[in-house]
């Protein structure tokens, strides 16, 4: 067993420097690495390029880094829930690369899997395809997309063990799974960190080899963007 434990978020983000490219897991606010984001927001890091499906909301998640102008460039698929983000983008303060969600996921997965580039039908005929190589397969045009090259990847899992094995819960698996191991260094924060042997190897979603640092996070808020319920029929 190779022990990957670090003490806390502060120790986990050691080595992240201004100007670096960082992947962050989560979909909306579901499954975001809250502890590391809060720690980054409390740091003096600037000029970051962040790869994340969304950009949080104004006062939570990556929105905290946007407020402090710590992000130079944002690579995301949907940013509609964040007014400050939209303002910074339209005013030109923030460089934004909007990427179709499936392509974003696959660019992570490709990096994770050692594939430098791939062809996809997504985005053909739209501005996403501008400047990209087009090739026909089975009579259908596809565009060439490249794997991301990131310095750090920060993911959040439900359970993990000292060697970095991870298990996700519900729809919080999302981008956390394809981002694990997709950068030079992967940090995993988990709700429950257990000793090796406590997780059933049959149920591991990400094997520990993809993770370099792991810690148990604290005070998870797990904020819900749109609480939607129904009434119990009487």
């Amino acid at each position: 067993m190779i022990d990957k434990r670090v003490k806390n978020a502060k120790e986990a983000i050691q080595g992240i420097q201004s100007g670096m490219t960082v992947m962050l897991g989560g979909f909306g606010l579901c499954g975001i690495p809250e502890n590391c984001i809060n720690e980054m927001a409390a740091s003096n890091l600037t000029d970051l390029t962040c790869i994340s499906n969304n950009a949080g909301v104004d006062d939570f998640g990556l929105g905290l880094l946007l407020q402090k102008h710590q992000i130079k460039k944002m690579i995301a698929s949907y940013v509609g829930e964040n007014a400050e983000f939209e303002r910074q983008m339209l005013s030109g303060e923030l460089d934004v690369e909007l990427t179709p969600q499936g392509t974003l996921a696959e660019k992570c997965r490709a990096a994770q899997a050692g594939i430098p580039a791939f062809y996809t039908p997504t985005g053909y005929g739209t501005e996403v395809a501008e400047g990209k190589e087009v090739k026909d397969f089975n009579g259908k045009p596809h565009i060439l997309e490249h794997a991301y090259e990131a310095d750090f990847s920060i993911v959040k899992a439900w359970k993990g063990d000292y060697s970095g094995n991870l298990i996700f819960k519900g729809t919080a698996r999302n981008f956390n799974l394809p981002m694990a191991g997709a950068a030079k260094i992967t940090i995993a924060e988990v709700e429950e960190l257990v000793q090796p042997g406590e997780l059933d190897p049959n149920e591991i979603h990400i094997p520990g080899i993809m993770v370099q640092r792991i810690f148990q996070g604290e005070n998870y808020e797990k904020r819900i963007e749109r609480v939607t319920t129904r009434k119990k029929e009487s």
Binding site: F27, E86, F168, R173, L177, I224, R226
Partner: protein
């Protein structure tokens, strides 16, 4: 003119037994409320669930269980969870039978624009661009005209495109239209709406052949 609920109700008739269906945000989400109980249908949400169930009861919300619209949901017996790369894998490899989504504009050859108004509004394409690039059967649910009364069913889209020649059917508050090789064909009209009303509200060329029936619910 149909309400949003009635648009969803009309679209629900396009859902067949044993279909896997992806519902977009807005009117498409409402379609789930009108699926007859005798049909076996599973809903996919691209953030990573098949077998999506109704919204949870008050107090039973789970932050780790949401749909692509970021609403809390439940999972039904037989449901499964997966990651985003896998989710779009099943979409690109055409395992999902029907995709229902909203739009800002649709053109008569099936182009769709839904993610950006240059200089004004940029929310992003989310998963819509992936869905329309690969899905076999795409139905658009939308209002026929915008708030200024201008047609959203056009000869050519004016906004940045989400996908080209991909929409198969449009269900609006006025009509059901089908994109065919020859152009956009009027299939049905909303109760109380005349063919003339529809043609007037449509900038695209509409093919009108014979009697156009009223929608049945």
């Amino acid at each position: 003119m149909l309400t949003k609920e009635q648009i969803a109700q009309r679209i629900s008739k396009e859902v067949k037994d044993r279909y896997y269906v992806n519902l977009g945000i807005g009117i498409p989400t409402l379609v789930a409320n009108y699926i007859p109980e005798n049909l076996s249908v599973e809903f996919q949400s691209e953030n990573g669930i098949l077998g999506m169930g109704p919204f949870p009861y008050e107090g039973e919300e789970d932050a780790d269980l949401i749909n692509a619209g970021k609403q809390t949901i439940t999972s039904l017996p037989g449901a499964s969870f997966f990651d985003s790369a896998f989710s779009f894998g099943m979409i690109r490899s055409q395992k999902v039978d029907l995709t229902i989504l909203g739009a800002m504009e649709v053109s008569e050859n099936g182009d769709i624009a839904s993610w950006k108004i240059p200089g004004k509004m940029v929310k992003g394409m989310g998963g819509a661009m992936d869905l329309v690039a690969s899905a076999q059967n795409i139905i658009v649910a939308m209002m026929h005209t915008n708030k200024a009364g201008e047609s959203k069913v056009l000869k050519n889209c004016t906004l940045p495109l989400t996908g080209v020649k991909c929409v198969k059917k449009i269900v609006s508050d006025l009509a059901v239209m089908e994109v065919t090789d020859k152009g956009l064909k009027l299939l049905e009209r909303a109760p109380g709406v005349s063919v003339e009303d529809i043609v007037k509200a449509t900038e695209a060329r509409l093919i009108v052949e014979g009697e156009i029936p009223e929608m049945q619910f």
